[in-house]
């Protein structure tokens, strides 16, 4: 395929690709909004005290870094060592 044709294909791909990316993520925005509404409704209906904080964190890092105290370490060690919850068959 001559380079100019390839470039035409590339332009098509770009337009189409960015279009799909945007469309897809836009739909996802609305899906998430709907999902959140549903979740909040369900959580509220079922009593709904909820233990998850709104502070997102990259797993583990903050726990061991920011609150890097004995309690955190011991909690970590416990949760790490608990070979426990494996129901064995």
């Amino acid at each position: 395929m001559p380079t100019s044709d390839l470039l035409m294909s590339g332009v098509n791909l770009m337009v189409l690709g960015m279009g799909i990316v945007f469309t897809f993520l836009l739909i996802l925005v609305f899906a998430m909004k709907g999902m959140s509404k549903l979740a909040l409704y369900l959580t509220a209906r079922h009593g709904g005290s909820d233990e998850v904080s709104s502070q997102p964190s990259i797993s583990g890092q903050d726990q061991a870094g920011t609150r890097g105290d004995l309690v955190a370490v011991i909690t970590a060690a416990i949760s790490n060592y608990r070979a426990t919850h494996y129901k064995i068959n």
């Binding site: 791909l13 690709g17 925005v29 999902m35 909820d50 997102p56 990259i58 797993s59």
Partner: protein
């Protein structure tokens, strides 16, 4: 009866069989390890990749050949696509999507930053006008995904569309991800005003556990309906995230975040390194790939910030456009860069949490882009 003279003995040394290309590639491997160890460039990947490059260029040893350990690892893990998908599972298990759930609109920032991918695709095709370059559409797509700033996605796509370029693409992807703190700030400063950078965003709302559990299903559902070619990547990502959030399989979540991702990272790195052979890497095309990669990161950052500026206008100044730069992914480095640039202007403005939204949106965004490229360009 073995009687060995000097001649055959000499023939069995590496020195007698060394080619210049191999020497150069070993030097490239050493350089990658140097960057990883001294400059802290993505050491988890670049140490194994660099060492893999050294090992696979040792003459006669055949370590990356069909009967060598790196050859086996490549066949089992990369050719099948299994390793990058397992890394993606681990990434899902390590990622808290809470910030994104609290601000779903930041998905659009993650979408905008993927523009870098498609512009780079065009750039790669345009390079064909230069003598010496002959990128097919598949090659160009695999190169373009560097702009996604997401290692496993890049390796997954390259292994499918352009295995010969895999080494160079992976090296470029991880190198530029490590350079994010150097590449992004000037672009961010150039495109934003002081007022914009000064915007303090309101605190994130509380995200419930149920939302976090439903989130992977929402993403996977849309992917299944509209873009099934992205389903392997998005599927493993959301699976890992469900293990993390569902709260009843801590053993499995822990295994995904640790044993699996660590072991696979070692093998993935070595296998990628095994693709850094002289005849594949020491070409003008690699230079092109490196240049295009930098270009892709710049464009992605810029379009992310520009989309941030649009959201700043639309919301009447509630969104700090800087967080758009985090849309390229490169989690969590890009979000930290946003935070740092934000603090330069306003010492009390911590943007880290707000930047995590577009940051993880960028991971989804580039997986979506990879799915599109697979669907439209893949065989």
């Amino acid at each position: 009866m073995i009687e060995i003279g000097i001649q055959p003995l000499w023939q069995s040394t590496g020195l007698a069989n060394l080619e210049w290309g191999q020497v150069l590639m070993m030097a490239v491997g050493c350089l990658l390890v140097y960057l990883a160890v001294v400059k802290k460039f993505e050491p988890l990947l670049l140490v194994p990749i660099g060492f893999g490059a050294i090992l696979s260029n040792i003459p006669l040893a055949g370590i990356s050949g069909p009967d060598g350990i790196l050859g086996y690892i490549y066949t089992v893990g990369i050719e099948t696509g299994v390793f990058p998908l397992l890394i993606f599972m681990g990434v899902g298990a390590l990622t808290d999507f809470g910030a994104l759930i609290a601000m779903p609109w930041t998905l659009l920032l993650g979408a905008a930053a993927q523009f870098g991918i498609f512009v780079t695709l065009l750039g790669a095709l345009a390079l064909n006008f230069v003598p010496g370059f002959e990128f097919t559409l598949a090659d160009a797509s695999a190169i373009a995904i560097i702009g996604g700033a997401d290692g496993p996605t890049a390796i997954f796509l390259a292994s499918r569309l352009s295995p010969d370029l895999l080494g160079a693409i992976a090296v470029a992807a991880y190198s530029y991800m490590a350079l994010v703190p150097i590449i992004q700030p000037p672009i961010m400063r150039l495109l934003t005003t002081d007022t914009e950078r000064n915007v303090e965003m309101q605190q994130l709302r509380h995200v419930t556990k149920l939302e976090k559990i439903l989130f992977p299903f929402a993403v996977l559902l849309l992917c299944a309906i509209f873009l099934p070619s992205a389903a392997p990547l998005i599927g493993m990502l959301t699976f890992g995230n469900l293990l993390r959030e569902c709260g009843v399989v801590e053993r499995l979540s822990h295994a995904s975040q640790n044993e699996i991702i660590n072991v696979v990272t070692i093998f993935l790195g070595l296998a990628v390194g095994s693709k850094l052979s002289a005849d594949k890497f020491l070409t003008v095309e690699t230079l092109g790939i490196l240049a295009l990669g930098a270009f892709a990161f710049c464009i992605g950052t810029a379009t992310g910030v520009i989309m941030g500026k649009i959201m700043y206008r639309v919301t009447g100044g509630k969104v700090n456009p800087l967080i758009g730069a985090a849309g390229v992914s490169a989690v969590p480095m890009a979000a930290r860069v946003v935070n740092k640039v934000g603090l330069e202007t306003n010492h009390h403005n911590f943007l880290l949490m707000h930047a995590m939204g577009p940051n993880v949106a960028g991971v989804i965004g580039s997986a979506v882009a990879a799915g599109i490229l697979l669907a439209l360009v893949g065989v």
